[in-house]
């Protein structure tokens, strides 16, 4: 299903060698003394109607990548293509027109809604900005949107504090849908919700995708949620994608040592399922001074000389399954050697 999408049509969004360095200034003249390498050379394509999951730990650059695609941040280097057209050079006017097509749902439903505005205003604002100035027309559309996300007419005049977390996230979804976008970036969209409510919002997102043909970039640290919702998954570590594959393939057989550790570390709600847990030593290094060579080598169980010296690139190990590791695909054999020696 997925590969056919990729073969028949060009991707909806594609980023090529995308880089974002945030400068750190210091001294009297605020010269740039160092930079945080939040996103450091990422290639990613999202096909139309597809859901791509982006996982990684805090500080790996996954949210920055999402914001770069929307151009909420200006990239330091690299290309962002939307429907095959580069949008990096777009001026504000062109960008505003394009924003109709791409929207974002934020993590925290408590701080991403203005507490002084009622729901009609919050959901109606993107409509107003994009030219629907007739109030009656606008409120009709808001009403439609509220129904789509499972809220009622009487909710229109209420303020954010009158809603529960799950309902607020539905308001966030309604706002993102207002302009009939093609692409929605879900940045930890369900992470702040309780489990029973989280399931409701995930189902809603999936229903909306079927109904409106949406494309999602689903950013999350919750591996099980990403597995559930995604067609394809990319794993990020320190500003780079270390592995990307069709969701089933990645979860069944992770090829990069980091993905393996990440998956084995995630707790599973079944006390009888005994798994071998790979506990990684140490912390994620600082993105200001990422380690030379492979960025994961400081914590990797299979580290070798070449890992400290050269940087591995993403290569296709299995069909449609890419990993950036010198030993991906032969780690089992390498492990046996490491253990015996």
């Amino acid at each position: 299903m997925l590969s056919s999408v990729q073969l028949t049509s060009s991707p909806l969004v594609e980023v090529r060698n995308l880089v974002k360095h945030f400068p750190i200034t210091g001294g009297v003249f605020l010269r740039e003394v160092a930079s945080v390498k939040a996103v450091d050379g990422v290639d990613l394509a999202i096909g139309e109607g597809e859901t791509v999951g982006l996982v990684g730990e805090s500080g790996c650059g996954k949210s920055t990548l999402g914001r770069l695609i929307l151009r909420l941040e200006e990239p330091t280097n690299g290309e962002i293509l939307f429907r095959g057209e580069s949008i990096v050079g777009y001026d504000n006017k062109k960008m505003r027109a394009l924003r109709k097509e791409m929207q974002i749902i934020f993590q925290d439903p408590f701080s991403s809604l203005n507490p002084r505005k009622n729901v009609a205003h919050i959901v109606g604002e993107p409509l107003y900005v994009h030219g629907m100035t007739n109030r009656r027309e606008r409120e009709g559309r808001v009403l439609e949107l509220l129904e789509v996300v499972g809220l009622k007419q009487e909710h229109m005049r209420r303020y954010p504090h009158q809603f529960s977390g799950g309902q607020r996230q539905r308001i966030g979804v309604a706002r993102a849908l207002a302009l009939n976008p093609k692409l929605i970036i879900c940045d930890e969209a369900v992470s702040a919700l309780d489990v029973s409510i989280q399931a409701q919002v995930i189902n809603l997102l999936e229903d909306l995708q079927d109904e409106f043909g949406l494309t999602y970039l689903f950013i999350s640290h919750a591996l099980s949620v990403v597995q559930h919702i995604s067609d394809r998954v990319a794993v990020m570590y320190l500003g780079k994608i270390v592995e990307t594959a069709e969701s089933g393939s990645l979860y069944r057989e992770p090829l990069h040592p980091y993905s393996q550790a990440l998956l084995s570390a995630a707790p599973v709600p079944d006390p009888r399922r005994m798994r071998e847990r790979i506990v990684l030593p140490g912390d994620v290094p600082s993105p200001i001074n990422p380690p030379p060579g492979c960025r994961f080598h400081t914590r990797c169980l299979y580290v070798d000389k070449v890992c400290r010296e050269q940087e591995p690139v993403l290569r296709e190990i299995r069909e449609d399954h890419f990993a950036a590791c010198f030993f991906a695909g032969s780690l089992g054999a390498k492990r046996a050697v490491t253990v015996s020696s």
């Binding site: 399931a199 995930i202 597995q227 079944d270 912390d283």
Partner: protein
């Protein structure tokens, strides 16, 4: 030696808010044996943390009050103890690990000083001995180069290291019971795995009991021997960990377990099953069973009569009319 290290009987912790009485913890009973880990799970605002604060004697009064019940720790009802005696238990025999390693350490003191404070409060030791104990406890929780790290300030440490400091602080006086309130929620999965592994190792070494509070059923499955499920201030179900995950009885527990996507089940699930509606506000609790409005098997009596606690044998307790 009493059988149950901690024995909470019919605890009621109420808060007076805006003229109403909020029953944050209502008639909660649970027991922890020595060396056992009890997992307390539930969604936000179900009373997990208030239960913990009640044990520690940390409920702000007013607006809060203990409206009834007993908490026996090592055979003594600690709710009846005067504050000066409670102060001797708190931090020494019962210690607590908080959720936020970023905010629960004081930024203007070194981490070594903060752990030393606990030891100085409870034991008469010389400065040198205290420092030795701090370094030993840092080593115990796996902080590398403890001799120099004790002089660090919290901002110089990563989240995982700060949580280790919190654990070192909780362990400094060799407590019998550790209360861990969402100790890994703020951490990344690979760091969470390190901390969980560490807590299990320390429990085996020191023989302490743990009251482990979390909303993450996956963490509970890996850590606890016994599990208590709370909902809107009441216990819905309590059982051995294998029984609870293998054969859950309460509709709420069943709903919770089926609404989480499970990692690596092979094929993609079609749709997540959900629990309809939202957690009720403590200001407007439903009549009868607290869960009846969201329950799939509710019948007429559920919305009128509060269900009793039923013992299904083997310590499996459930609060539901429909479970026999």
């Amino acid at each position: 030696m009493v059988e149950n290290l901690l024995d909470i009987r019919n605890l009621k912790t109420y808060f007076n808010v805006r003229g109403a009485v909020l029953k944050a913890v209502d008639d909660v009973s649970l027991t922890i044996k020595a060396g056992q880990t009890l997992g307390l799970v539930g969604e936000s605002a179900c009373g997990k943390s208030v239960t913990a604060a009640s044990i520690m004697g940390l409920i702000p009064m007013p607006p809060g009050r203990i409206a009834g019940g007993e908490i026996f720790f090592d055979g003594i009802d600690i709710l009846k103890l005067p504050e000066f005696k409670m102060r001797k238990i708190r931090g020494k025999k019962i210690s607590m690990i908080f959720q936020e390693p970023m905010t629960s350490l004081n930024p203007v003191f070194t981490v070594g000083d903060q752990v030393a404070e606990v030891i100085r409060l409870h034991e008469k030791l010389s400065r040198k001995e205290v420092r030795g104990r701090v370094i030993a406890s840092f080593r115990l929780v796996g902080i590398p180069a403890p001799e120099s790290r004790v002089n660090d300030y919290p901002h110089q440490m990563s989240g995982g290291m700060r949580q280790r400091v919190m654990i070192a602080m909780a362990l400094a006086c060799y407590p019998k019971l550790m209360i861990a309130d969402e100790p890994t929620t703020a951490l990344d999965v690979t760091i969470q795995a390190q901390i969980l592994e560490l807590m299990n190792k320390l429990k085996a070494e020191t023989g302490a009991s743990i009251l482990f509070i979390t909303h993450d059923l996956g963490v509970i499955a890996e850590m606890a021997q016994k599990v208590v499920v709370m909902y809107a201030g009441k216990v819905m179900e309590a059982a051995d960990v294998n029984d609870l995950f293998g054969d859950p009885k309460h509709p709420y527990t069943i709903g919770l377990l089926s609404s989480i996507p499970v990692l690596g089940t092979g094929k993609k699930q079609k749709r997540l099953s959900t629990i309809a509606g939202v957690v009720p506000s403590l200001f407007r609790l439903p009549e009868g069973c607290l869960f009846n409005e969201r329950c799939t098997v509710a019948q007429a009596d559920c919305s009128r009569i509060e269900p009793p606690m039923r013992d299904l044998g083997n310590g499996h307790i459930v609060c539901c009319h429909r479970c026999n």
